[in-house]
C-alpha cells in the first residue's frame, strides 16, 4: 500500500470560526438533548430495580403513576429526544464547520429548531400527566392524548426543516466549489438528514392519515396492522439516523483526535450512500411474527437487512484501520498491542472507543434479530432492549457523550471540567452496560418478555432471578455514570471562560488519500436518491398497496382507562 499524504486543497474548513449566534444555536440543541438524557436516564434504574422487586414507583406516586409511565419517559426522552436534538445540533456543526461557511438560510434552521422545541413541549405535558403512557412505539389502538401525537409530529417536521437547511447550505457551497469533492463530514451529515426525511414518511403517514383522524373523531377505529407497517417503515431506519452521526465522528473526527487520518475517504462515502440506499427497506424484520404480512416480504426484508450490515462491516475496517494508523504513528506496536498507544487519557476518545467495542457485540446480536428464523426466539423478549442498549444506548449515546466532551467546551469557550472524571464516566458506563446488557440478553433467551415489570409478574421462574439481579446492578452502575456525566457538563458550562488557546478545536480528520481522487459518483445525491426510491417501491410497494387497499378501520381499542 502506498500512502500518499497531501494537504487537502481548496477546502477552507479550519479557517471558519463560529459566530456567537451559531454557538448559541447549536448549544440550544445540545442543551435540550442533555436535559432529556438526564431526566430520561433517571427513569432507567427505576425499571431495572423493579426487576429485583425494589419498586420505587410506589414512593413516586405524585410524580409517576406507574412503571409504564417511567418506561415511556425513559424511551421517549432517551431514544427520541436526546438523539434527535443532539443529531440536529451536531449536524448544524458539521455542516458549518465542514464547509467552512455559515448556513445559507439560517432562518430555515431557526424555524426548524423552534418547531422541534414547540413539539417537544406539546408532547411533554401529556407524558408527564400520564396521558400518553403508550411507550415510544405508541401502537394503536392504544390511545394517547392528541397532544402527544401532535407534539411528536412537530418534532419530526422541525427536523425535516433543519434538514432542508443543511441541504441548501451544501448546495450553496457546491455552487462556489464546482468540481471539488464535498467535505466528508458535511456530506455525511446531509446524507443522514436525507435518509431521515425518506424514512419518516412512514410515521408521518401513520399519524396524519390514521391516528389524527381517529383522535379527532373522523374515524372511530384504526387498522393496527397497517399502523405497524407504517411505524416500522420509520422505526428501523430510525436506528441508522441515530447511528450515522456517531459514524461521522468515528470516520471524520476520531482519527484526528487519535493523532491520525481517515484511512479511506471513498469507502467512508460509499458506506454512507449505502445507508441511504438500504436503511429504509428493512422494516418488516420487526414484523416477522406479525399476522397479516406474507412470509415472502418478511424474507426479502431479512435479506435487505443483511445488506445494511455490509456498510457497517466497511465502517469496522476503515475506523479500526484509521485508529491503527494513528496508534502506530504514536509509537504503538504489535498485532493488537497498538491499541494501548491510543490516547486513552482523552475522555472523548475513550468514550468513543468503548462505544465502538460494545457496538461489535450489538452488531452480532443485530444479525440474530434480523434473521428470518431465529428472530422468533427473541422477539419481544428482554433480549431486544438488551440489544439496543448496546447500540443506541452505548454505540450512539456514549459516542455522543464523547463528542460533547470537546463540543460543549468549544461552544462555551471553556475548558472541559474534570477530564479524569470524564474518563472514569466512560468506563463506568461501559462496565454497567456490560453487566446490564448481558443479563438482559440471557433473560430474553429464557423467554422473559420485554416492557414488563417482572418484579410483579407471577410467571417468573427461579432460574431468572440471578439475571434479574444483574440487570438491577448494571442499571445502578449506569445511573452513577449518568450522574458523573451531568456533573461534568454542568461544571464545564458553569466554569470560567478559558484562554482561547485552551479551548478545544473541532477535530476534523484529513484523509490519507486526497479526497479529490474519490470518484465523482460518490459525491452526487441524484443517483443514490433515485436508487433508494426504486428500491423502496420494490420492497414496500406491493405489500403496502395490498394493506392500504385492504384497510379495515375496525379496531376501536378499549373504552376504559388502560394506564
Amino acid at each position: 500500500m502506498t500512502i500518499t499524504e497531501r494537504a487537502p486543497a481548496a477546502v477552507e474548513q479550519p479557517g471558519y470560526q463560529l459566530t456567537q449566534f451559531e454557538r448559541r444555536f447549536i448549544g440550544g440543541h445540545l442543551f435540550v438533548a442533555i436535559v432529556a438524557l438526564g431526566i430520561g436516564s433517571l427513569m432507567g434504574p427505576l425499571q431495572s430495580l423493579e426487576y429485583s422487586n425494589v419498586n420505587l414507583y410506589k414512593y413516586l406516586d405524585p410524580i409517576l403513576k406507574s412503571y409504564y409511565q417511567g418506561l415511556t419517559l425513559h424511551g421517549v426522552l432517551n431514544a427520541l429526544v436526546w438523539t434527535t436534538f443532539f443529531i440536529v445540533g451536531f449536524t448544524n456543526f458539521t455542516t458549518i464547520k465542514g464547509l467552512g461557511r455559515p448556513l445559507s438560510h439560517p432562518r430555515v434552521n431557526q424555524v426548524g429548531f423552534a418547531t422541534m422545541v414547540i413539539g417537544l413541549l406539546m408532547a411533554a405535558v401529556p407524558l408527564l400527566l400520564n396521558q400518553a403512557t403508550v411507550l415510544y412505539t405508541f401502537y394503536p389502538p392504544l390511545e394517547a392524548s392528541v397532544f402527544f401525537y401532535l407534539g411528536l409530529t412537530l418534532v419530526v417536521v422541525g427536523s425535516w426543516i433543519e434538514g432542508v437547511g443543511f441541504y441548501l447550505t451544501l448546495a450553496a457551497w457546491r455552487k462556489d466549489h464546482r468540481g471539488v469533492r464535498s467535505p466528508f463530514i458535511a456530506l455525511a451529515g446531509t446524507i443522514n438528514a436525507a435518509m431521515w426525511q425518506i424514512a419518516t414518511l412512514g410515521i408521518a403517514t401513520e399519524i396524519l392519515t390514521m391516528i389524527l383522524p381517529w383522535k379527532f373523531g373522523i374515524t372511530d377505529a384504526t387498522d393496527p396492522e397497517l399502523a405497524r407497517t407504517y411505524f416500522w417503515f420509520t422505526g428501523h431506519p430510525l436506528v441508522y439516523f441515530w447511528l450515522l452521526p456517531a459514524y461521522v465522528s468515528w470516520y471524520g473526527m476520531l482519527p484526528k483526535q487519535a493523532g491520525g487520518k481517515l484511512f479511506s475517504d471513498s469507502l467512508a462515502r460509499l458506506s454512507f450512500w449505502m445507508f441511504l440506499l438500504v436503511s429504509v427497506p428493512v422494516g418488516f424484520h420487526h414484523q416477522f411474527v406479525d399476522p397479516g404480512i406474507p412470509q415472502v416480504w418478511k424474507w426479502l426484508h431479512a435479506i435487505l437487512t443483511y445488506a445494511v450490515f455490509f456498510p457497517s462491516m466497511l465502517t469496522a475496517f476503515t475506523v479500526i484501520a484509521s485508529l491503527e494508523y494513528a496508534a502506530r504513528k504514536r509509537g504503538g506496536t504489535g498485532l493488537i498491542g497498538w491499541v494501548r498507544a491510543l490516547p486513552w487519557g482523552d475522555p472523548s476518545v475513550t468514550s468513543q472507543l468503548l462505544a465502538g467495542i460494545l457496538f461489535m457485540f450489538g452488531g452480532i446480536g443485530g444479525l440474530t434479530n434480523a434473521s428470518y428464523n431465529i428472530n422468533l426466539v427473541i422477539h419481544n423478549t428482554t433480549w431486544v432492549p438488551g440489544h439496543f442498549h448496546l447500540t443506541v444506548a452505548t454505540a450512539v449515546t456514549l459516542s455522543f457523550i464523547g463528542i460533547t466532551y470537546w463540543l460543549v467546551p468549544l461552544l462555551c469557550g471553556k475548558q472541559l471540567w474534570g477530564r479524569r472524571v470524564a474518563v472514569a464516566q466512560a468506563w463506568t458506563w461501559f462496565v454497567g452496560m456490560v453487566i446490564f446488557s448481558n443479563a438482559m440478553h440471557m433473560l430474553g433467551l429464557l423467554g422473559a418478555p420485554r416492557r414488563t415489570p417482572l418484579g410483579e409478574a407471577l410467571y417468573v421462574p427461579d432460574e431468572w432471578n440471578g439475571h434479574l439481579l444483574r440487570v438491577s446492578i448494571g442499571g445502578s452502575i449506569l445511573l452513577v455514570a449518568v450522574i458523573m456525566y451531568l456533573v461534568v457538563m454542568y461544571k464545564t458550562v458553569r466554569g470560567p471562560v478559558a484562554d482561547p488557546a485552551d479551548v478545544p478545536q473541532a477535530p476534523i480528520a484529513e484523509s490519507l488519500r486526497h479526497p479529490q481522487l474519490t470518484p465523482v459518483w460518490l459525491d452526487r445525491f441524484k443517483p443514490w436518491l433515485i436508487a433508494a426510491g426504486l428500491l423502496l417501491v420494490l420492497s414496500y410497494g406491493p405489500q403496502l398497496f395490498d394493506q392500504i387497499s385492504d384497510m379495515s378501520l375496525n379496531a376501536p381499542g378499549v373504552d376504559f382507562p388502560v394506564f
Partner: protein, 202 residues
C-alpha cells in the same frame, strides 16, 4: 474556473479517480459479502426448506364482534381427531381465555390467537411459538407438544397497566391423564373457556 481545470489541477499527477481500496480492505469486503451470503442462504434454507413456520397471512376478523361471534366467542381446545387439535385463544386486556390449555403429549395443535381490543403478544415459554397479536388479524402457528410439562404463555406486548398479569399455561399431560381430565371435567373446560370477558377489570 471551470470544473475541468479544477479537477485537473487538484488531481495529483499519475493518480486517477479510483476508489483507492487497500488490498486488505478488498479482502475484508470479500469476506464480509461471503459471510452475509452464507447467512442469507442459511436462513432461507432453515426458513423454507426445513419446515420452519412464522405467522403470516391467515385470516381477518372484526375485533368488535370477536367475543360474540365465531370461534373466539367460545375459546378453547377442539379435537380434530388423529392427535390433531386446534386451540382458539382470545387475548383481551388483561387476560387470555382460556387461562389453561390441557393437551395430551404428542398432540399437534394449531393455535389461533386473536385480540378484541389492543395489541398483545403470545409467547409460549420453551417452544417456537411467539406471535404478535394484532386486533383485526388472526395469528396462527402449529406446534407439536412432545414433552409432558407446564408451558406458560405470556403476553409479550405492552397493553396497559395489567400487562404483567396477562398469562396462561399449556399443560401437556399423558394420554391417560388427558382422557381422565376430558371425561370428568367436560363441563369444567367450558366454564374455563367462558371466563374471558374482563372488561369490568378496567
Amino acid at each position: 474556473m471551470s470544473a475541468d481545470t479544477l479537477e485537473r489541477e487538484q488531481e495529483p499527477a499519475g493518480e486517477h479517480l479510483t476508489m483507492g481500496i487497500d488490498p486488505w480492505e478488498k479482502n475484508w469486503m470479500r469476506v464480509s459479502i461471503l459471510l452475509l451470503v452464507v447467512f442469507a442462504v442459511a436462513i432461507t434454507v432453515a426458513g423454507f426448506a426445513a419446515g420452519f413456520q412464522l405467522p403470516g397471512e391467515e385470516s381477518e376478523v372484526d375485533p368488535r364482534t370477536l367475543t360474540t361471534e365465531g370461534p373466539w366467542a367460545d375459546p378453547g381446545l377442539r379435537d380434530l381427531g388423529n392427535g390433531h387439535y386446534e386451540a382458539y385463544v382470545l387475548a383481551q386486556a388483561w387476560s387470555f381465555a382460556p387461562r389453561e390449555l390441557v393437551v395430551p403429549v404428542g398432540a399437534e395443535v394449531d393455535i389461533y390467537v386473536a385480540s378484541s381490543d389492543l395489541q398483545h403478544g403470545f409467547k409460549v415459554t420453551d417452544t417456537n411459538i411467539n406471535m404478535q397479536i394484532v386486533p383485526g388479524q388472526v395469528s396462527k402457528l402449529t406446534f407439536t407438544f412432545d414433552e409432558i410439562g407446564e408451558y406458560p404463555y405470556i403476553c409479550t406486548e405492552y397493553c396497559g397497566q395489567g400487562h404483567a398479569a396477562m398469562f396462561g399455561t399449556v399443560q401437556v399431560v399423558s394420554e391417560a391423564d388427558f382422557a381422565a381430565a376430558s371425561s370428568d371435567s367436560s363441563t369444567d373446560t367450558s366454564t374455563d373457556s367462558t371466563t374471558p370477558t374482563t372488561e369490568a377489570q378496567g
